[in-house]
Symmetry: C2
Subunit: 277 residues, 2 copies
């Protein structure tokens, strides 16, 4: 079994009915946990401690945002290598706290451990009275994504080639579509954030709903395989298209329709987006 398959295998071995979405919905509480590990998700040479703390928190906040939830509390576990200085610890913790705070979230605990690498695991405790789930697609629903895709993979490839990328690159600074999700929620059938790439994540959404698709606008592989975008992938009834396009525009983003949900078993090609797999 390939490494990425093993990771999925582990999660699927767990029997809980709560597993399958970006987060577990238990009543109005929403619990999510995401790892941000050195040499899997980032290299320390690429990013400042402030950037590492910020992205680690943003990719976690994205789980809550994608489900139309408000993040309330965070727990953070950090594995600290010997060579990290107290100044770097200050920079990391400040960045984690400030980023959480922008979304109304407070770090209330966690754990620290000595380790060879700088690994972060973050748990978020959120709430929502109307969570957006992955399940809920119906035949004929349109599939669309927000914003532009492709920059994250392009810049990751540049970093892997030893090149520099812009300080404000999507790879460092995901743009979460919080306002769009909040306003669009009543008109959406299903949705999730794009973390593994549009191709893989569309497959996941279709798996969950046991549908396939018909392509409406072809996607280039530069877009389809770009992971860690943290834009939204959404499904909705055709009748809501114009309204959702207006909401996107009002939120300073765009909505690109690419497929229609159909009764078939069609899937996109999917391969891992992380550099270590």
């Amino acid at each position: 079994m390939k490494q990425m398959d093993k990771e999925h295998y582990l999660i699927h071995r767990l029997s809980s009915k709560y597993i399958g979405d970006d987060a577990a919905v238990v009543g109005e509480k929403i619990y999510s946990m995401d790892a941000f590990f050195e040499d899997t998700h980032f290299k320390r040479a690429w990013m400042s401690m402030a950037q590492i703390g910020r992205k680690a928190m943003l990719v976690n906040l994205s789980d809550a945002v994608a489900m139309n939830a408000e993040p309330d509390y965070a727990l953070v576990t950090v594995s600290l290598p010997q060579d990290v200085t107290t100044e770097q610890i200050d920079e990391l913790t400040r960045s984690l706290e400030e980023t959480a705070s922008e979304y109304g979230c407070e770090i209330i605990g966690g754990d620290t451990v000595a380790g060879d690498k700088l690994h972060l695991s973050i748990t978020l405790i959120s709430h929502s009275d109307d969570p957006l789930l992955r399940k809920g697609l119906e035949e004929g629903d349109l599939l669309a994504y927000t914003g532009t895709l492709g920059e994250s993979k392009r810049d990751l490839d540049r970093l892997l080639n030893g090149e520099k990328i812009a300080e404000d690159s999507r790879f460092f600074e995901p743009m979460l579509q919080r306002e769009f999700v909040q306003k669009a929620r009543p008109f959406l059938s299903a949705g999730m954030d794009i973390s593994d790439g549009l191709y893989c994540d569309t497959n996941k959404l279709l798996d969950m709903n046991e549908y396939g698709f018909a392509i409406l606008n072809s996607i280039s592989d530069d877009i389809g395989f770009s992971g860690e975008e943290y834009e939204m992938l959404v499904g909705f009834k055709k009748v809501h298209l114009e309204r959702l396009k207006s909401i996107a525009e009002a939120c300073g983003t765009t909505l690109t329709v690419f497929a229609e949900v159909a009764k078939n078993s069609r899937r996109f090609p999917c391969k891992s987006h992380h550099f270590k797999d």
Copy 2:
């Protein structure tokens, strides 16, 4: 700054008022997170996957038990090395789920990530209508611990020497004092589980309460420095001593008084208990 000091430094940089106990108490909800990392807390050569999963979950459950809380839900993040087989993943997840289940707790989510080492981070969501906190000691309170201490360090030293230890060693299988904590709660001023050793953990309890101590029964270093015991360290008014001893006996354990809380700044010697620091 030494590595262990850096780990504490990071946690103390976080400003939340919820930080300081084994877990964060928010209303009746109790949130805790603990790492169980390869080559910091265990070596894979020492333990089966079932033992790793079980201990990882038990040290987390101990946070809830120590606060007189009922664990409801768990999130588990696992970093999976390439050489872990699917059979080992089965063994690990089964052990995590079964151990959680013994305490009425369900794994509802988490994350998996490729990595060089087998690292586990677990978050527990618990509840309590009468949590046992670290704060609450008063002058004259007695300090005592449950059960016997010393086996965990003795067996860790044996493992580090390349020797074998018993399958049922405390190092593999911490004994959580759940029943004792539940029954004793009304008569306790403060308490915590013993994870860093009786010396270090007594210091933490005294720091939190801004007291010192007078020794009543001397402790050997074999006991004082033995970490990862997960027995309970408790403080209580003298008037409750006999009753608490009876409760301990009824729960099949013992209660050993070793000090009295006093207005001084006395502390025990404290050094890290993990083998990698």
